[in-house]
């Protein structure tokens, strides 16, 4: 029996020794770039994380300290059950608050923009993108009422930024993505992504006074992004159908409802800074990563590669421009399953620094002082 005792003892030791505590995801800091002073404090980067992994994370870059912090949300809110959530889809700063759209967790996380501390949530199923105007926020959702054929119409929810309560909803097309405010109108890019191959083709135009759909603008199939420029023109992207119809970028005159210019390029993400539209994305038909700059006034392609040195970006995914320095921040989602990389390029496209991010780094929001 002695042998059995030793054996039992060994097993007991084994049981207690090997499994530690389940730790929170770490928060890590790294120094990158040079300290900058100016009107900006820093920027947040939302990492989407893969569906089902519950790994949306928020990173922060501090311009004055030149420090990059991975998973700042985790550090600011250690007691938040299941942290930021599953699949970050959009990130915006408005007033003193930071809003992160967490698509698969069916909520918008509202945080203090200085500390990333949790303030509240707005629950909206399958929420996608948001924008603001006055005292209100507007958020698109795929999950409207079910119609015949089990199709769900999409909607835009209007919420009060003071109370974080939804006060109105407006049905638009199927699977609406980005929204943009121009004048007293809200422009919604409908994708129809769940209705393959019967994609949506129109922008919905909502009158902000009545919060009802007033009009629509025919652009192309599977719309994704809609942004205004300094000339009050809209820049709209179509993802195409991944087959016969390639991805395209359009300039649309919202008053005449006409497409004024068409670019055959896959702008997975874009940002407009002054007269320059910076885009990046993956063009599977043309064989990979692409980026460039378009002058929004002349509609000329200024550049067909933002990167001018030998930096190789596998999967350009998100882009932002520092409004003062003109530095370009471009994210690389890599193979999607592993951490990505954030690159900082000088105005002329030379890499200044790069840093490891969370999984699928995507959305950048600048914080002013």
């Amino acid at each position: 029996m002695k042998r059995t005792n030793i054996y039992v003892l060994a097993i007991l030791l084994f049981m207690t020794a090997c499994r530690g505590d389940e730790l929170l995801p770490p928060t890590e800091t790294e120094t990158r770039g040079d300290k900058q002073s100016g009107s900006l404090r820093g920027f947040y980067l939302l990492n989407e994380g893969n569906m089902g992994q519950n790994k949306a994370t928020l990173d922060y870059y501090d311009f004055e300290k030149a420090i990059y912090t991975r998973n700042i949300y985790g550090a600011a809110n250690p007691g938040m059950v299941q942290a930021l959530g599953d699949v970050g889809n959009d990130l915006k700063v408005y007033g003193n608050r930071l809003y992160a759209v967490i698509n698969c967790s069916n909520l918008i996380e509202v945080m203090d923009k200085r500390t990333a501390e949790h303030i509240g949530t707005i629950e909206i199923p399958n929420c996608r993108y948001l924008t603001f105007d006055g005292a209100y926020g507007y958020i698109t959702s795929y999950a409207g009422p079910v119609q015949i054929g089990n199709k769900q119409i999409g909607y835009v929810a209007k919420f009060d930024t003071a109370t974080l309560q939804i006060i109105d909803t407006c049905f638009v097309g199927y699977q609406p993505d980005e929204v943009e405010v121009l004048g007293n109108k809200l422009y919604v890019a409908n994708s129809g992504g769940y209705l393959v191959p019967n994609y949506e083709t129109k922008l919905s135009v909502i009158d902000l006074n009545t919060f009802e759909v007033a009009d629509s603008i025919l652009v192309a199939i599977n719309l994704h992004r809609v942004r205004k420029d300094g000339e009050d023109m809209l820049w709209v992207t179509s993802r195409g159908d991944y087959a016969d119809n390639p991805a395209r970028l359009f300039r649309v005159n919202p008053l005449s409802k006409q497409i004024t210019d068409t670019f055959e390029l896959a702008a997975g993400d874009l940002t407009i800074c002054g007269d320059s539209l910076y885009y990046c994305g993956m063009d599977y038909a043309a064989g990979g990563a692409m980026s460039g700059i378009i002058n929004t006034r002349t509609c000329q392609q200024v550049s067909t590669s933002i990167v001018t040195d030998n930096t190789l970006i596998d999967t350009p995914y998100g882009i932002a421009i520092h409004p003062d320095s003109g530095y370009v921040y471009m994210t690389d989602a890599g193979t999607y399953v592993n951490p990505g990389v954030l690159y900082c390029f000088s105005r002329d496209g030379k890499q200044l620094w790069n840093v490891r991010t969370g999984d699928i780094p995507a959305h950048i929001a600048f914080i002013y002082k």
Partner: protein, 658 residues
């Protein structure tokens, strides 16, 4: 073999297959009472005790369970049911959670392949092969029938009645029929407890696993025939299930409404005979199968994309194998298979793929005193045909053909000792599946096959000692150890297609190198007074590195969910009609992606299971009862990120043999 099963297993002569040395390299085998004592509910549960195997288990009774053999990926395991392959041209993976252990008598896992020459060409076509053998009728001398009625019940609302009837139609033709029903709510409590780096609880939450329910029934009927120099069998198999698909536990969403219905039916038969030409043997094995699989997947959750898809697969399979003796120490064989697969679906833009596969294997085996060798060349010919919907481009089915070799060797240094040194080499591939190639919008017809190359060397030693001291009457020892190096090239991986992740695309992206070792050791001690103690251990070390892109953080990292260390211990103490069984499974630390950083770290997990059985001899019939308690320490763990596994759980098993 202990007394518990002795009477019922009366004709079971292969107590230890190792003694017979049929194979150049012995497989890992679990059979008979040893297998029954594991009380595994499904085949996947039983496979956890093998070395070199990792199970992906999403939890519960109804959740999908797949097997990864030596880190090459679950697509590389061929599964054979009573000698005939189980195909799944649609996604290439057999859900082993679906195969109940109720009727399985033996499980054998081969790394590389079985070295039996008289086998279909398909048996040479996978990196690893798993053979499931169902119970064959065996009769006592004076009783031409057997009846068994069984019931398993336990936590997760499990109720699992089964019935078996066997009849000796003639001395040489036996009938077996059995049916089983399984119901489980799949509900269990789980707890997630996260701790900050300062050691304080950050958050601690509990929940009930939802939508893991299952309801299924299975019926099988078989005829087994015996010839003077051969045998044949015909079998019909029917399975029907409805189950919930449990989802990942994520912030704000813990439940799911997704459901899956499966209907599988197949009819298979084989005929094997040997003719003598002088002292030379000539053998034939002919096999045929037809299977029809229907699967419906429903996502009624209107906050997500509504999906209601049905898939219907058909497979027809024909095989003929011939083996001949050139000399008594040299055999040659040739086998030829033809497989037809067709997939039908109500998906939009579906291409209704059909696949014709031809397989020709030429093999030879050699056995001279201390040396055994086997070599095979397998030619695979594949022709796909698709119906292209109007307006779809980039969809062209390509033909594929490839010759792949394998060699195995075994050397016995001393003819008096059962010590064998062995080695094998195998180069094989898995074809992209119908989903990989043609799934609407996701499939990529430009995909290449995924290749594996395996190099293995090892030893095996078996020893039986008869002792004449007071307490111990005998001792059996068995050790098997293997070291291996595997390469997986052109790994087929799904990646999202641009921004907004609901569109995916399949790509040949990835190169993995695996260095590992598997060790199995067992000892059985026979004491006085009919006391027997069997102890088996297995240990696996694997270094499975992602060597795809040197510029990436994950380069050189351990691939997703593969632990460096894993193992199991099984101990069984039996005395007369009593049996006490303990098992322990350990899976070491892992990362859930190949970027081995702290954010991706997964803790080790281990479970202790205990069961006690008693066989009751009653008038004319016997009753076996088992009480089983699993995960004794109530460890809260997950194998897959965000898929919590059950804590403490139990089962009661009663079987009546009439």
């Amino acid at each position: 073999m202990d007394s518990l099963y002795r009477r019922f297993q009366i004709e079971e002569v292969e107590v230890t297959a190792r003694v017979l040395d049929k194979d150049v390299i012995q497989p890992q085998t679990l059979k008979g009472p040893e297998l029954q004592r594991l009380n595994a509910l499904s085949v996947a549960d039983a496979l956890r005790y093998f070395s070199g195997v990792q199970i992906k288990d999403y939890g519960g009774v109804g959740g999908i369970k797949t097997v990864d053999i030596r880190s090459m990926g679950s697509h590389h395991l061929g599964v054979f049911y009573d000698g005939v392959e189980i195909g799944n041209a649609q996604n290439g993976v057999v859900d082993l959670g679906k195969f109940s252990m109720e009727n399985i008598e033996e499980i054998s896992l081969y790394n590389g392949q079985k070295s039996e020459l008289l086998q279909p060409a398909k048996d040479y076509g996978s990196s690893g092969t798993l053979y499931l053998r169902t119970r064959r009728p065996k009769f006592e001398a004076d009783k031409p029938y057997n009846v068994m009625v069984g019931m398993r019940a336990g936590t997760f609302g499990l109720a699992n009645p089964s019935v078996l009837y066997e009849h000796k139609l003639t001395d040489n033709i036996h009938l077996s029929a059995n049916a089983e029903y399984q119901f489980a709510t799949g509900r269990y409590h789980f707890r997630v407890h996260k701790v900050s780096t300062d050691g304080k609880t950050a958050w601690d939450t509990t929940g009930v696993r939802q939508n893991g329910d299952i309801q299924s029934w299975r019926a099988e009927i078989g005829l087994f025939g015996y010839l003077p120099r051969g045998k044949w069998h015909v079998k019909g198999y029917f399975y029907n299930s409805e189950k919930g698909i449990p989802r990942a536990i994520i912030r704000n969403v813990w439940t799911s409404d997704q459901r899956q219905w499966d209907r599988n039916a197949f009819v298979q038969s084989s005929f094997e005979n040997t003719w003598m030409a002088g002292d030379r043997r000539l053998s034939l094995l002919a096999t045929a199968k037809y299977s029809y699989d229907q699967m419906r997947y429903l996502n009624p959750d209107t906050t997500l994309m509504y999906v209601d898809n049905e898939f219907r697969q058909q497979e027809a399979y024909l095989s003929a194998a011939f083996r001949a003796d050139v000399f008594s120490w040299w055999e040659v064989a040739v086998s030829a298979d033809y497989i037809y697969n067709h997939l039908n679906s109500n998906m939009s833009n579906f291409v209704f793929p059909r696949r014709h596969t031809g397989l020709i294997a030429v093999s030879t085996a050699f056995h001279y005193k201390w040396l055994r060798a086997q070599a095979t060349a397998l030619e695979t010919l594949i022709h796909d045909h698709i119906e292209r919907p109007a307006g779809l481009i980039n969809k062209a089915a390509k033909d594929y053909s490839r010759l792949t070799p394998s060699v195995s060797l075994s050397y016995q240094p001393l003819l008096t000792e059962r010590l064998y040194l062995h080695a094998f080499y195998k180069h094989i591939f898995r074809m992209p599946t119908f989903n990989d190639l043609y799934y609407t919008d996701i499939g990529n017809t430009a995909l290449r096959p995924e290749f594996t190359t395996q190099y293995d060397g090892g030893l095996e030693y078996t020893k039986s000692l008869k002792l004449d001291n007071n307490a111990m009457k005998g001792i059996d020892l068995h050790v098997k150890a293997d070291g291996y190096f595997n390469q997986v090239k052109d790994k087929i991986i799904a990646v999202p297609k641009g921004n907004s992740q609901y569109r995916w695309q399949m790509l040949n992206l990835g190169y993995v190198e695996i260095r590992g070792c598997d060790i199995n050791a067992g000892v059985t001690m026979h004491f006085d007074y009919g006391v027997e103690w069997a102890f088996n251990g297995s240990y696996t070390y694997q270094k499975a590195q992602d060597l795809t892109d040197p510029s990436k953080l994950e380069y050189g990292g351990q691939i997703a969910y593969i632990p460096w260390h894993s193992g199991s211990i099984v101990s069984n103490l039996s005395w007369r009609d009593w049996s006490l069984h303990y098992s322990f499974i350990y899976v070491g630390e892992r990362y859930h992606t190949s970027a081995n950083i702290r954010a991706n770290y997964e803790l080790p997990w281990y479970t202790h299971d205990l069961s006690i059985s008693k066989m009751w001899q009653l008038k004319g019939w016997r009753l076996s009862t088992t009480v089983e308690i699993n995960n004794l320490l109530n460890q809260q763990y997950a194998i897959i990120l965000n898929y919590p596994m059950p804590g403490l759980n139990g089962k009661l098993i009663v079987r009546a043999y009439i």
